[in-house]
Amino acid sequence: MNEENKRPMLDRLCGDMTESDRRNLNRANLWLALWLVSFAASTFLIKGDVVSSGLAGWIVAAAPLVVGLGAMLAYGRYMHQADELQRRIQLQALALGFGVAFFFGFGYRLLEKVGAPAADISDVSMVMAFFYFVGLWIGRRRYA
């Protein structure tokens, strides 16, 4: 039994990281949490007709985009400085998520025409996120 197999399962699943990776990933996750909050808040304000048009509407609608840019920059920083194996795992997960979502997005258009329930872009985003996490899980198992 090698050293890896002696480690707790949750530890193996999450993978260990260098201190800088942990710090950068925590920062990226914080931005992602902020984005979720801002998206939920903007959705609530717009759908609830608290704001709907005019400058206030534009600001509320654009807020998640601005926060999302911060999340992208934080994730980019993590990727740029990441341990090389972690970077490979992330890239493979991103490739799986993007690839599946790309072909699902186009393929589902045809399925809709033959009777499948209508889907919108947020469904594609969910598929992308799901398969990104599947890719992370596969990568961490592959190199464990």
């Binding site: 050293e3 990281m17 260098t18 090389e84 190199y143």
Partner: protein, 70 residues
């Protein structure tokens, strides 16, 4: 690619975590290299060679199945 990382580490009685700290990589990276699941980048291979004071070719050796030998 085959490597002698585990042997060199054992000679110094280092854990994977200790070696990972010395090289500023994750312990998972060390484990993946030792088990042959991952070949390190050239900069990391040079860092490993420098740490153990040996030429790269004495630590990493190509296998017959490696693409450059195919």
């Amino acid at each position: 690619m085959k490597n002698r990382l585990k042997v060199l580490r054992a000679e110094r009685d280092w854990t994977q975590a200790r070696l990972a700290r010395e090289l500023d990589v994750s312990r998972q990276t060390i484990n993946a290299i030792e088990t042959g699941k991952y070949d390190p980048s050239l900069p990391l291979a040079f860092s490993i060679a420098a740490l153990f004071g040996q030429p790269i070719e004495q630590i990493f050796t190509p296998e017959a199945s490696d693409p450059q030998n195919g």
